[in-house]
């Protein structure tokens, strides 16, 4: 049976979701995404530059027929702004799945949880497939899944920090009680961070800076694809228990006397 990530009414082969920010240009964005194997890509909603409207558009480089476009609410500090942004994004005609993030503070970019819950309630009621970015708090994860979110997306570490999973124990608790996919969103720095998240049993990883900010973003995109795949397969394979003492790999019988 094929191992698929189910979000809303769609299924995906890739468990790596990538952002489209911070690349050198759209050509590099497209190439990195292609190499990453991602089928879902996040985008932000912003005002058109009126004085230079003829600049190329991101969607000229990312075919919405090929990729699921996942608009985010980055930069929103209130539930109202986040809901407004989601409604605008939906009008663009790329579907109803959105990444909800209501930022609480511009230094940490940690989410404002009460505002996230408020926005999630409204958006779920309006038929959005809501993927909320949250701190690694099991109670928040549970509340959001109860509200009807299609996944929960705890951070590994602060956005863009590259610190990797700071609190694996909380992620484990979130996984244990989850009835929706758990996607680690933000804070991944390198391929092993992504692999660790997947080995723990997370359903996916979302990242942007770790790829776009690498010295060679295209090569890192490939590393992340392999890291996520390796971690997923290791999770499915079931790792051996950790033990303090050795167990010989070669037979004891027949050793030369």
């Amino acid at each position: 049976m094929e191992d698929l990530l189910k979000l809303g009414d769609k299924s995906y082969r890739s468990r790596l979701i990538v952002g489209t920010g911070k690349y050198k240009d759209f050509a590099e964005t497209r190439k990195a995404i292609e190499v990453s194997g991602a089928e879902i890509v996040t985008v932000a909603v912003r005002r058109v530059n009126i004085t230079d409207p003829n600049k190329e558009n991101l969607l000229d480089y990312l075919d919405p027929k090929k990729y699921t476009i996942l608009p985010n609410t980055a930069g929103c500090y209130t539930a109202d702004d986040a809901v407004r942004t989601c409604r605008l994004a939906r009008e663009a005609g790329v579907g109803k799945m959105i990444k909800l993030e209501v930022i609480g503070d511009d230094k940490t970019l940690f989410p404002d949880i009460p505002a996230t819950l408020d926005a999630a309630k409204i958006l779920v009621k309006e038929g959005f497939v809501v993927l909320p970015y949250i701190t690694d708090d099991p109670i928040t994860a549970k509340k959001l899944q109860d509200i009807g979110c299609a996944a929960v997306m705890p951070l590994a570490a602060p956005i863009g920090s590259g610190l990797g999973i700071r609190n694996p124990y909380n992620i484990r608790i979130i996984l244990e009680q989850a009835t929706v996919p758990v996607i680690v969103d933000a804070g991944v720095g390198t391929a092993s961070d992504a692999a660790v998240a997947m080995e723990m049993g997370c359903d996916g990883v979302l990242m942007n800076t770790a790829i776009a900010g690498a010295r060679d973003p295209i090569l890192m995109a490939e590393a992340m694809r392999l890291g996520v795949d390796a971690g997923r397969k290791a999770f499915l394979a079931g790792r051996i228990p950790k033990k303090l003492y050795a167990t010989a790999s070669s037979p004891i019988d027949g050793i030369l006397g």
Binding site: G21, A44, N54, N57, N208
Partner: protein, 66 residues
């Protein structure tokens, strides 16, 4: 007439429709979403929606983001 376009006061000819405004600004309507006084205007309604002085218009699109 003066309208507030993406947060800035701008001067336009009276009676312009949203479709005409987008054309004047050389913006491809297929790639943007328009909000007039906080209400979304569907693409189909761009031609029939006329602007008046004091309107607040937001024209947004997708950009790279994480």
């Amino acid at each position: 007439m003066k309208i507030r376009l993406n947060g800035e006061e701008k001067q336009f000819a009276d009676g312009l429709s949203i479709a005409q405004l987008l054309e004047e600004l050389q913006i491809r309507s297929g790639r943007v979403v328009v909000e007039l006084n906080r209400d979304i205007v569907s693409r189909e309604a761009h031609g029939s929606t006329l602007l008046k002085g004091g309107d607040a218009l937001e024209i947004v699109h997708f950009v790279g983001g994480g």
